[in-house]
Symmetry: C2
Subunit: 232 residues, 2 copies
DNA sequence: GTGCGTGTGCTTGTATACAAGTACCGGTCG
DNA sequence: CGACCGGTACTTGTATACAAGCACACGCAC
């Protein structure tokens, strides 16, 4: 039906996990996915191995593979990593900001402000905005590492944004950061960035109180089939 | 001859790449490795996919797989990431340092100071030291991300340490960091850490001037067989 | 009703067979 | 002697077959 190569299968699966289309705790069978995607087990299996490396999938040998529940520990880790990288990058902002990148960021913000913006679209713009800021300071490549590490944070955030903080609030925080950067006011930029990232983190804590079944239990017990979240 | 499962194969291959036993630019054939390790292509291939994700292996479809040359861009990225994480972590050091961790760090430093210490042993201790510092500030889990990102940096460093800076110098810098941490002198700890990490980076630049063939060319050209470094 | 034991169906892990494509070596022609 | 052209041997990518093991359901004994 769709992909014939591993890249496509991997991209598809990753998108479905991050968008919560595949719910945390749900079983993902190699055979099942292979049949659904119209490919053999091989590319599916190789994709699952990569997703397991990212912590998005848990594989229990001879038992089954499951979408990881959102792990609060990993969320906190990603939060720390992200703060460290994005705040430190601000210190390396050049005196003269790249005009093309600035135009992109400005255009990005304008699109974020669109009234009836959808959630998925906002997330894409959000990613591009933070990535763009990193590129502005010459550390764009670090985004790949941050991005890979924050899968758990993103999934929780998607729920938080949906039910708690509307995109407009985040867009306003984004604008505050960029304006401070333009002014060359480094302390203000750092403060605005920290405020923004912490707000995101608080959203995650809020959604955890609302939907604990999507989060991993603290005792690290292994989820089995009867614990499945059917998501319907 | 050895491993029968993927974890073993992956660990073996990763070790050989990071220790430069498999030279940058060297071809790694799935069939060849499978025969050498006494397993089929499957676990070997899955391991190579993971190593490719880390950037340690380059796969050219239908052509071959090669050990990545040390990429200066990735080295710089890892350096930035590492500085950001390790310096930021210092800010989160608790007032009361965990005694057990402190004892481990102290013991670690004593072993680093041993006169005739081997290179591999020193590297292990070095990793444990930096990981330990992160754990001290409650961000031990971030080490996994840093560790995965700094493969290129490590390979270059291994050469740098061998031919340029002796382990004793690094051990001294480690001690300076830990002493500042114990005194609770945060600025001094940050300075010492930054000095240490920058020294490592400088070593890499030095070895690059000495052995440019181990590094990727800046134009990003694709290495093919005739460009192989035979390493003998 | 309750508890235990066995069989069945599913899972992942590994090995192998086939498909498709590229680089290189050698012969041939100009 | 040089350039071109084709066969060959290798590569990775995918599909399939086989192996080993766990969980659950069913049925029986108590």
């Amino acid at each position: 039906m769709a992909g014939t190569n591993r890249q496509t299968v991997y991209a598809t699966l990753r998108r479905k996990v991050l968008s919560m289309e595949l719910a945390p705790g749900a079983p993902v069978s190699e055979n099942e996915l292979a049949a659904a995607l119209g490919v053999s087990r091989t590319p599916v299996r190789e994709s699952l191995i990569l997703l397991a490396e990212e912590g998005l999938i848990q594989v229990f040998p001879k038992v089954g593979s499951f979408v990881s529940r959102v792990d609060p520990v990993r969320v906190a880790d990603a939060q720390f990593l992200r703060e460290a990288v994005e705040l430190t990058a601000l210190d390396d902002l050049p005196g003269r900001l790249d005009e093309r990148l600035m135009a992109e960021l400005d255009d990005n913000l304008n699109r974020q402000d669109r009234p009836g913006i959808g959630l998925e679209e906002f997330f894409t713009l959000d990613e591009e905005f933070h990535h763009g800021l990193l590129k502005l300071s010459g550390h764009g490549a670090a985004w790949a590492t941050v991005s890979a590490a924050k899968g758990h944070l993103d999934r929780a955030r998607r729920l938080g944004l949906n039910e708690a903080t509307p995109p407009a609030v985040n867009a306003g925080q984004h604008r505050a950061i960029l304006e401070a950067v333009v002014r060359g006011d480094l302390p203000a930029a750092r403060t605005a960035m920290r405020t923004h990232l912490r707000a995101v983190f608080d959203d995650v804590e809020r959604i955890r109180a609302q939907s604990p079944e999507l989060f991993a239990s603290n005792d690290g017990s292994t989820p089995v089939r009867r614990n499945v979240v059917t998501w319907d």
